[in-house]
Symmetry: C2
Subunit: 132 residues, 2 copies
DNA sequence: GGCGATTTACTCGGATAAGCATTGTCCGAGTCAGAAGGG
DNA sequence: CCCTTCTGACTCGGACAATGCTTATCCGAGTAAATCGCC
């Protein structure tokens, strides 16, 4: 399991937002400055989190981002899948390889098991637990 | 767990080689023809498997590829790591993100656990089991 | 001074380039089988 | 007929492009606060 930059940014951005006491929205540039993340890129990632129902956004001068659900109801899996898409186990050249269907099914099963384990692992950890 | 094309080719190529009864080397073009894989690309992948001590190669007119160890001593993990490099759990922007060290360690732990599980999973399955 | 229209500064939002890994291709080095030729 | 030599075709091997995805950036749409003018 290797988390890409985008996903890593996403996790820590959500963490930062969840840690805010105030109910005011947190603005992108504040997160970017704190972690040294390129602002425009971060915004793009935050938008994906909004689409995936992890965050809510507000426009305008006092706008920003807020948690949609509470920190204890938001899991790391939610964040990761929002950015990378669903974690699914599959092999790439499924169509090219003809025959060897038995072996193919076994290998696909392995991938699925790995993906399933990873999903359950990430689902167990909430943002609340990350805060501590 | 998503296996790239190269890795998938590698698994089925090794499977094909292991299935050969004769002790003669199997030639690349035979595998490529059987599975519809681009020959030159397959050769490149097979070379990686040779470097990783999974296969042995022989040049010349009667050359080709053979298993280095027996099918029951060669695991899917050996093949996958030969092509993709070692399966390790890590986050990408480790340096960029400053602070939040507690959360960082937790997330890194998740990645390691996922990687460890996947490794053990792939290690359990030998090429012999794929043949059936 | 109070109220409202306007400006303005700031936000998010989606479309657009740059960098890098994966995938795919080409030509050269090496090696053995088999033909050619002489004994 | 048999052995040696040589040729040639076929192999793997490593260096060289094309493609696709991740990463990064830019400019436009939207919103509320602050400003300015009028009453």
């Amino acid at each position: 399991m290797r988390l890409g930059k985008a996903t890593t940014y996403a996790v820590f951005a959500v963490l930062y937002i969840a840690q805010q006491k105030k109910s005011k929205p947190v603005q992108g540039h504040e997160i970017a400055r704190n972690y040294g993340i390129p602002l425009e890129y971060l915004l793009k990632i935050l938008q994906q989190l909004v689409k995936a129902q992890v965050l809510i956004s507000e426009r305008g001068r006092t706008g920003g981002f807020q948690m949609r659900k509470s920190a204890s109801q938001t899991t790391v899996l939610d964040i990761v899948e929002a950015v990378e898409g669903p974690i699914t186990g599959e092999i790439s050249a499924r169509r090219e390889i003809t025959g060897a269907s038995r072996a193919k099914k076994i290998v696909e099963g392995l991938c699925r098991d790995s993906a399933g384990f990873t999903r359950s692992l990430l689902k167990k950890v909430t943002v609340q637990k990350l805060i501590g």
